[in-house]
Symmetry: C2
Subunit: 170 residues, 2 copies
């Protein structure tokens, strides 16, 4: 936009906020996945369980929007977790075609164990940063999210996108 085109492309690429953001998120996700693995749970399962825990009776489509995945992916996960006896599908009282999602006791138990693992990671980070910096980091990250969603009204683009070989949208 200004005069950054002068230098070689990507000269400052390694020193960008979005890169630091990506690397941090990648590292955290990888560690979560590793720790959760010993409990026989994937990060996606944890995300789904805790979302249902926070808002019991959630519908699959709504859940998909919150997790930024397609309803199909949610259905897949739900079927799996239901098979494990951790999640339960109940008919919606008003909308017959909709089904509510609820945690079973086994699901709550699994979530409790998984959450302690996640909490432990969270604590390792906050201890390293200190209370003050942790709070500010959260605030700054919130500003980033706001700045993005200000430009992009959280519409149909919040979900992943793929491209065909020729570049046309899939």
């Amino acid at each position: 936009m200004t005069l950054h085109d002068e230098g070689p492309v990507g000269a400052d690429a390694l020193d960008r906020v979005t890169w630091a953001l990506r690397r941090a998120e990648l590292a955290v996700t990888a560690l979560k996945e590793q720790r959760l693995r010993s409990l026989g749970m994937a990060a996606a399962h944890y995300s789904l369980l805790i979302a249902v825990h926070v808002d019991p009776g959630l519908a699959g489509a709504e859940l998909a929007r919150r997790l930024n995945v397609t309803p199909q992916a949610v259905a897949s996960l739900v079927t799996r977790l239901e098979g494990r006896g951790q999640l339960e599908r109940r008919p919606h009282p008003r909308h017959r075609h909709v089904q509510e999602l609820h945690l079973t006791d086994a699901g709550r138990d699994a979530l409790r164990k998984a959450d302690s693992v996640i909490t432990e990671i969270e604590q390792q980070i906050t201890e390293k940063l200190g209370a003050k910096d942790s709070t500010q980091l959260k605030a700054l990250l919130g500003q980033v999210t706001d700045a993005i969603q200000q430009v992009q009204p959280a519409g149909p683009f919040s979900r992943p996108v793929t491209l065909r070989d020729d570049g046309t949208p899939g």
Copy 2:
């Protein structure tokens, strides 16, 4: 670890650093994908191209490590980008079985356009935060990454993990 087990699980889940981190990264990635889409390029392609641009002659396996994906995924992307004439495979001077990756002129051109889009997003963020906070955000994110890698020596777990239905590692 201390006494957080008292309250209901996940009561503070929405106020965690790692959640703020994830949401911010998700938003940024989605926006990048959206903007890059109009150029017929996916974020993964951009990441690969810029990595090759920064370190020309990179081998596929090394590239895979840097991008935190498997060599297979890199090979898939490389084949595609090579088909578009943006990337080039050259024989390695010493190691016959290894192939160097280089950008073509078309690749450099595509990268330049893509990078301007990414830079624009970066600027929108830094403008919103201000120079000072942007710098600190980068520093804090760096601390998070360090804190994680301090526990997890960047070994074979830096790559994504999947789980089978029964919970055993795939």
